[in-house]
């Protein structure tokens, strides 16, 4: 518990991590504010689609949690790689990684909960019917954000540098979705984590392939475990 608290303090004092929280909170309301109301979809479905994009905040947090440990400002700088301080204070690498993962999940989960609450409260304020199962969809969205952050975390444990995972994950979830394009050609690509996961809270699937919310969540969980396992293996085995 002590180590989780330490990792929370370390993470939330970083400006880039605070930007991740802000992005997560503000992304969906900002998109909602600039886009015209849709005639064809129910307002609550649109809200969940907008909330999906807030996941970029979760990605940023997942990447920064690791890349901040390896930041090197060169020989003349007083700041040096934090991983040395981290592992001399907490030499058990698995305890360190686990505490960091829990701190990340708590931060992202809380951010997702607040973002969802804000959007749904705004929506309810306009007299919109949120429909049945809205709580389950909200939980699904929170799980989606947390698992995405953990995938980014595992990926950055492999690369150490934040740039590659940031570019790949942010582009894919905002500008051009490579996985989505691939899924138009290869149906199995629908089981990529970023396509399977949203079935936890989106009602009509953009790809047309039907995956149930629980199945989507389990598929994404499998991916997350795989990324974490590979990242942790690399972290445990290699020199810091």
């Amino acid at each position: 518990m002590r180590l989780v608290w330490v990792e929370l303090c370390k993470l939330l004092r970083l400006p880039s991590a605070r930007a991740g929280v802000a992005l997560g909170l503000l992304c969906a309301p900002a998109i909602a504010a600039v886009s015209a109301p849709s005639e064809r979809s129910a307002a609550v479905d649109v809200a969940f689609l907008e909330l999906m994009f807030g996941v970029i905040g979760a990605i940023l947090l997942g990447v920064v949690a690791v890349s901040s440990e390896y930041r090197d400002d060169g020989e003349e700088a007083a700041s040096t790689r934090q991983i040395v301080a981290s592992l001399t204070a907490v030499p058990s690498r698995m305890r360190f990684l686990a505490a960091k993962a829990v701190a990340l999940a708590l931060t992202v989960g809380t951010t997702a909960l607040l973002a969802t609450a804000i959007m749904l409260t705004l929506l309810a304020g306009t007299g919109e019917n949120l429909g049945p199962g809205v709580v389950g969809r909200g939980v699904g969205l929170i799980v989606y954000w947390v698992l995405t952050a953990l995938i980014a975390y595992g990926m950055t444990l492999l690369t150490r540098n934040g740039i590659v995972p940031l570019v790949v994950l942010l582009l894919n979830s905002s500008v051009v979705s490579f996985t989505y394009l691939l899924s138009r050609v290869v149906p199995a690509a629908n089981y990529f984590p970023d396509l399977a996961g949203p079935h936890m809270f989106l009602r009509d699937s953009p790809s047309g392939v039907e995956i149930g919310p629980v199945t989507g969540g389990l598929v994404m969980l499998g991916w997350t475990i795989a990324f974490l396992a590979v990242g942790a293996y690399r972290f445990q085995r290699s020199d810091a």
Binding site: R2, V6, R13, A78, S79, V84, T88, A89
Partner: protein
């Protein structure tokens, strides 16, 4: 003094037959030595001789292919609150540029269950009172060194491991580190420090370990190693050039 007793029990560093390769390059080849409580052990050698690699293996940061490095008979990675046993400064402060010095010390302290009061004490000890509230990106190299030492002293450890502690320090800083090292050893602590500068070490070390090309070239008391060479500096060049 209970704490004095604990110190004596937390002190012996043993490096046993440690070998490390990176790819095809042999970085360390059967390195063995002991650093004992109550003594300052100087670990000297040219740049790239394997000093930092040895210290990184001691602290569990790097893995050795062979041999082991122990603190009081157990690997550093097995310690639950390592800061109370071993204080270390390797390549700088280990602080992220966006943190203040105080914030850095606070998380390090919290990770080992040490108090915020202790954080203020080491800030004073390291002469960082005016810098502690500022971001580390604004620190000079010397202030970064002081911050690293402050973190190493948080747990009042019996063992200090310092890699090139004089790099980047001004005259006042060099003197502070020398006094610190001598005081800790006199109080029963173990100090292992590496340097490639002989002049800084001759006056403060009791024991010397000379490393060259990943192998131990000499080890013993200062007199043992310098015997027949005139000075530590002469001994160093004679031992490391061969």
């Amino acid at each position: 003094m209970r704490q004095g007793l604990i110190r004596l029990h937390c002190g012996v560093i043993e490096i046993e037959n440690v070998s490390k390769r990176r790819g095809r390059v042999t970085v360390l080849d059967g390195v063995s030595f002991v650093a004992r409580p109550g003594r300052v052990t100087g670990f000297i050698g040219p740049n790239g001789a394997g000093k930092s690699s040895t210290l990184r293996i001691l602290l569990g940061l790097d893995h050795a292919q062979e041999g082991r490095a122990l603190v009081d008979g157990s690997p550093f990675t097995a310690l639950r609150r390592p800061l109370t046993c071993v204080g270390a400064v390797l390549d700088g402060s280990g602080a992220h540029r966006s943190r203040t010095g105080r914030a850095h010390l606070r998380w390090v302290a919290a990770s080992n269950g040490l108090s915020r009061r202790r954080v203020e004490e080491v800030i004073e000890l390291a002469g960082l009172e005016s810098a502690a509230g500022k971001h580390v990106r604004g620190y000079s190299l010397g202030m970064g060194r002081r911050l690293g030492l402050a973190a190493a002293l948080l747990g009042d450890p019996g063992v200090l491991v310092l890699d090139e502690p004089f790099n980047g320090l001004d005259a006042g800083g060099v003197r502070w580190v020398r006094d610190l090292v001598r005081t800790r050893a006199r109080a029963g602590g173990t100090v292992l420090l590496s340097s490639h500068l002989m002049s800084e070490l001759a006056e403060i070390v009791d024991d010397v370990v000379v490393i060259s090309g990943g192998r131990i070239a000499a080890r013993g008391t200062l007199d043992d190693v310098t015997g027949g060479h005139g000075s530590l500096e002469d001994a160093y060049f004679a031992l490391t050039s061969s």
